[in-house]
Amino acid sequence: MSNSRRGFLRELASVVTAAKDAIEQPVVPDLTDAEVERYSRQLVLPEWGAAAQLALTEASVLVIGAGALGSPVGLYLAGAGVGRIGIVDDDAVELSNLHRQLLHFTPDLGTPKSESAAAKLRFLNPDVVIEPYQVRVAAANAPALVEGQDLVVDCSDSFATRYAVNAACCAARVPVVEAGVLGMAGMVMSIKPGRTACYRCAFPTAPADAPRCADAGVLGPAAGVIGSLQAMEALKLLTGVAPAIADGFLQVDLATAEFLRVRAARREDCPDCSPL
């Protein structure tokens, strides 16, 4: 060993205040050995760490819709270790769902989607509390559903539901990730009520002739990409490890492989967020 290296080691020895055996002892009492192993590939990220992981563990997230977007969202949030996930959907699994709704399999046909999704997510991560709700979200029940949540991820497939969720989240000041997908395109938007533009600020009125998924179609991977982006936004909002897509939305065209960030500002006359 060179003299300079010996000197460095002596210097280090003089300032050692913590010495742990990483092989023989658990060194993070707040995370169990199983948690460290399960989440090791995200814990090792420079941006991530025990604080981010514990923030997820303590979080309660409501996922509205257990379909094409809700499937990747549920899978990634449960996999990442979100402590409590509510899954809201009033539909049952149909054969026409299976090409894009990854949480449901052929034997699940006829099963309520919320129950089918909950069963898979419990298999994926038994440490996560999964709460299925077989109800249809509307303006009347949205406030009660979002109350007390740390985050809502809106994976619904109608403008009416998105507006109802947006209004309820704004009123309760619960952050929400909105998204939509159709054909080979979609959009994603994160909303921090009272601080950033809300869904109605960006889209004041629904298009009069908005096509439905059943009529216009959707490719499975397109929904997978948009749902994955939603899950990414959710993790960013829950942990703060990176800035969310706020004050605007990300428009994604998977036919041309183009991602476009579109700016949107809060509207003074927004009926949902201007009172905040």
């Binding site: 060993m1 290296r5 460095f8 080691l9 280090l12 020895a13 300032v15 050692v16 205040t17 913590a18 010495a19 742990k20 055996d21 990483a22 092989i23 658990p26 060194v27 993070v28 995370l31 460290v36 192993e37 090791s40 814990l43 090792v44 420079p46 760490g49 025990a50 604080a51």
Partner: protein, 55 residues
């Protein structure tokens, strides 16, 4: 896994504090010093002992 545990322990320490990690020869002994240096910490290796000063 050794580097993950080391990283988590370093997160709990203040800048300038030092951590001593005993690694098994092989992958851990290669990965821990490299990852610690990549993260910006000062590292010295003596045998199977890795000393890391938190950046």
């Amino acid at each position: 896994m050794t580097w993950v545990r080391t990283k988590l322990e370093l997160e709990r320490m203040a800048a300038g504090e030092a951590l001593v990690v005993r690694c098994r020869p092989g992958e851990a002994l290669e990965n821990v010093p490299r990852s610690a240096r990549d993260a910006g910490h000062r590292v010295a290796v003596e045998g199977t002992t890795v000393r890391i000063v938190r950046a």
